[in-house]
């Protein structure tokens, strides 16, 4: 009886920890452990692993407990559940800004953060360390006899011209489920009306909805779908094994560029080690050849050499689409366009 009560208590006390949905948990133990970094991240562990290993080589004794979740789950964990994490790494810039704006992030200053340009840092709390374009990933097989679309307009034309080929064979983010998908869609909608016409066409062809880029890329490669829209280019680039089956196209009318950001949550227990992790992240990302790990690092030349790149600005503007009413309206509109009866 007593054992039952104590185990019940254990289960009850463990419950809040399980309230947010963990996709993957990877331990990076350290010999002679002096600190443990609990990292909550939207980046796949195998993409991030080389970087963590390099960090541990430079900072022995720091173990890393790496949790992969969806971007909205980071909000659940940090804002609603008050979970303890030392670092939050996310592709959903708007949610990161909201965390910092609402006072849920610690400020951090160092030589490395001081070297960041103003647009890559917000309030000494949110630090950008990658630039990742939203791309179209196309199946080589399905576009063998069609001109490769370079813009959204050309994609619309291709879809309209070959409805039978593309029916139920288009994929994009389900913005209701994915924070990054919502960010890409809202930025697209803000930048150009073309997005809504594209959404209409895609909805008419019964587009498949996904929660992550990796699945879309693999499905394009396998031939299950022919077009994936708003896929993280960085994920597609690293899948070199699939490059003979897919095209990765950054739309030339405009390419939304997401910056992956990192912050130290307010209830971090090892903020000092977290700061060193951020320094390492910035130093790696901001030097030439920052692609030592999967994410294309930011180089100052990249933005100026391509005028169609539209980086999403870190700032309070990102809070707009997080507004309850605004989000509800946007999703209603998006559903009206994208989710049409077949």
């Amino acid at each position: 009886m007593r054992a039952f009560i104590s185990s019940l208590a254990l289960i009850l006390s463990a419950l809040p920890a399980l309230a947010f949905e963990i996709e993957e948990n990877v331990q990076f133990p350290a010999a002679n452990q002096t600190a443990e970094l609990r990292v909550i991240s939207t980046a796949d562990a195998d993409l991030f692993a080389p970087f963590i290993t390099a960090f541990q080589a430079l900072n022995p004794g720091i173990a890393v407990d790496y949790y992969v979740v969806s971007s909205s789950e980071i909000m659940v964990a940090l804002q609603d559940e008050g979970e303890r994490f030392d670092l939050a790494i996310s592709s959903a810039m708007d949610l990161q800004i909201k965390l910092a704006n609402d006072g849920l992030a610690l400020p951090y200053r160092s030589g490395a953060t001081g070297s960041l340009p103003e647009w890559a840092i917000w309030r000494d709390r949110v630090f950008a360390f990658t630039q990742e374009p939203a791309t179209m990933v196309l199946s080589r097989a399905d576009f063998a006899d069609i001109d490769l679309p370079r813009t959204r307009q050309e994609l619309i034309t291709a879809l309209r011209d070959h409805p039978e080929r593309f029916r139920e064979r288009i994929g994009t983010y389900d913005v209701r489920e994915s924070g990054l998908g919502y960010l890409f869609a809202t930025q697209d909608g803000r930048t150009s009306e073309t997005f809504w016409r594209l959404a209409q066409v895609m909805g008419g062809l019964q587009t498949q909805l996904y929660r992550g880029s990796s699945d879309m890329i693999e499905d394009v490669a396998s031939g299950r779908i022919a077009v994936a829209y708003n896929v993280l280019g960085s994920y597609a680039q690293v899948r070199e094994d699939l490059h003979d089956r897919i095209h990765i196209i950054a739309p030339e009318d405009f390419t939304t560029v997401m910056m992956r950001t990192v912050l130290i949550p307010a209830n971090a227990e090892a903020p000092e080690a977290a700061g060193r992790f951020i320094d390492h992240l910035i130093e790696t990302a901001w030097t030439e050849g920052g692609g030592r790990f999967a994410f294309p690092g930011i180089t100052p030349a990249r933005l100026s050499e391509n005028a169609s790149l539209r980086p999403i600005q870190l700032g309070p503007g990102l809070l707009v689409y997080l507004d309850r009413l605004k989000r509800r309206q946007f999703i209603e509109e998006w559903e009206a366009a994208m989710v049409q009866p077949g």
């Binding site: 910092a100 704006n101 609402d102 006072g103 103003e118 917000w122 309030r123 000494d124 803000r190 600005q313 700032g315 309070p316 503007g317 990102l318 809070l319 707009v320 507004d323 309850r324 009413l325 605004k326 309206q329």
Partner: protein
């Protein structure tokens, strides 16, 4: 010692007063600029908050009986700034939260419709909030929409800190420039005073012309007073010289007349005792004449020595001339007046004074030495001085207190048998001093008689 009322230096007082003024002005300037900047900063933040709230309110519509708020992207991007201030907002319908941060306070205290502003503490930070209100009709029912937008004040604090630094620098610069001007003003005021003092003290002793230096108007009364004083002094000096000349004339002329009458009478009188009396009288008249002459000489010497006017004086002809003029007097006593001079000697001095001194010394020698003794007058020189030595073979000076004889009206104890004023040595001594020379009196070594040396610096 409060420097403002201390009678010390005008320059110091002026400088301190100007510096104090400059410090007060700098402080006032600082306070005005700073408070103005603070106000402008607050106003510009209020304007942006108000614009943001307005753009949200403009995007608030009624759609099929429901309030719909479509916050424009620019509503928040316009609040973006260099220090990334935090942004909060809240939209309410009749006080009920529609969207945004439900615990954000409202700045609206009244029922008005214009923008209301307030500064509140929210989530541990100072927040400037603006609230705008609009009344809309939902299905015929009036309802009130409040939009509140808030922003932290870090950027404003940042700008204020920069303005503070700037203003402090400005204040200090202003003060430094004023201080420099104050020092210059103090210096130039003191300079015009010292220029006047210099122009007055640079004048020659005979220069009693009025001061005509260009001076600031405030100093003109001083110069006028000074000129009036100079004029009075000049008049007094002229009067004194006139008086001396007049006195000499008026005393000597009647005495000479009386003496001439005496001599005439002496020739006509044959009775021996009457002749003795007459000779005594004539002698007394001579003494009086001489004393009057010496008194006037002394007065003249005192006057001229005070305002010594130097010109080259050739000593040999001067002394030779006097020796020649006094030789008849010496010969009356059968005295041999011998003069020898090695070479020409020139000193810088007042001819009249030197003549006076030499004449008195020769006169003394003739008077106090016994008859039928020689008097040797020699003019010698060494490197820097010309020395006139007069030796007689008379009674000499008393063994004690030879120096005291140069005092006015002092006479040697052993000279009681001779009538004299006691002014001769005094005159010679004063002349010697006025020329930077010396008068030494001593008894001739190894013999009877006195030895007087007048030394004057050579030109």
């Amino acid at each position: 010692m409060w420097p403002f009322h201390a009678p010390g230096s005008i320059r110091l007082r002026l400088t301190l007063q100007l510096l104090t003024g400059a410090a007060v002005m700098a402080l006032v300037l600082f306070l005005i600029v700073y408070s103005f900047a603070r106000q402008i900063g607050a106003e510009s933040q209020d304007r942006i908050l108000s614009a943001s709230a307005t753009s949200i309110l403009d995007a608030t519509t009624v759609q099929s009986g429901n309030i719909s708020v479509d916050i424009p992207y620019s509503a928040f991007t316009m609040l973006d700034n260099s220090v990334d201030d935090r942004v909060f907002y809240r939209i309410t319908q009749d006080g009920e939260g529609l969207t945004g941060y439900d615990d954000l306070p409202s700045a609206r205290q009244d029922q008005g419709t214009g923008p209301a502003f307030d500064t509140v503490t929210y989530r541990g930070e100072e927040l400037r909030i603006a609230t705008l209100t609009r009344r809309v009709s939902v299905g015929g029912t009036p309802t009130r929409i409040d939009v509140t937008v808030g922003q932290t004040r870090d950027a404003q604090a940042d700008v204020l800190a920069r303005i503070l630094r700037m203003t402090v620098l400005l204040g200090f610069g202003f003060f430094a420039a004023s201080a420099l001007l104050a020092i210059l003003a103090g210096r130039s005021t003191a300079a015009s005073l010292s220029r006047l003092a210099e122009s007055v003290s640079r004048r020659g002793p005979q220069d009693l012309r009025p001061v005509v230096a260009e001076v600031p108007s405030e100093m003109r009364p001083l110069v006028a007073s000074l000129n009036s004083l100079i004029a009075r002094l000049s008049a007094a000096l002229t009067r004194t010289e006139d008086f001396i000349a007049e006195a000499a004339h008026r005393v000597r002329t009647p005495l000479a007349t009386v003496r001439a009458h005496g001599e005439n009478t002496l020739r006509r009188v044959s009775k021996e005792e009457n002749r003795v009396s007459l000779r005594e009288m004539i002698r007394a008249i001579d003494e009086s004449s001489r004393a009057a002459g010496q008194l006037l000489d002394h007065a003249m010497v005192s006057l001229r020595a005070d305002q010594l006017e130097l010109s080259p004086v050739a000593l040999r002809p001067l002394v030779a001339d006097l020796v020649d003029r006094l030789r008849p007097v010496a010969e009356l006593k059968d005295m041999d007046l011998r003069f020898e001079a090695s070479e020409e000697q020139e000193v810088m001095g007042d001819t009249i004074l030197i003549q006076n001194a030499v004449r008195n010394l020769l006169d003394n020698a003739i008077k106090y030495a016994p008859p039928e003794t020689p008097i040797d007058v020699a003019l010698t020189r060494d490197e820097a001085t010309a020395t006139l030595t007069i030796r007689d073979q008379g009674i000499g000076f008393p063994a004690t207190g030879a120096d005291a004889l140069t005092g006015r009206f002092a006479r040697g104890e052993n000279a009681t048998g001779v009538i004299g004023s006691g002014l001769g040595l005094t005159i010679a001594d004063e002349v010697a001093r006025a020329h930077g020379g010396t008068l030494t009196i001593a008894n001739t070594e190894g013999g009877p008689g006195a030895c007087v040396r007048l030394s004057l610096p050579l030109r």
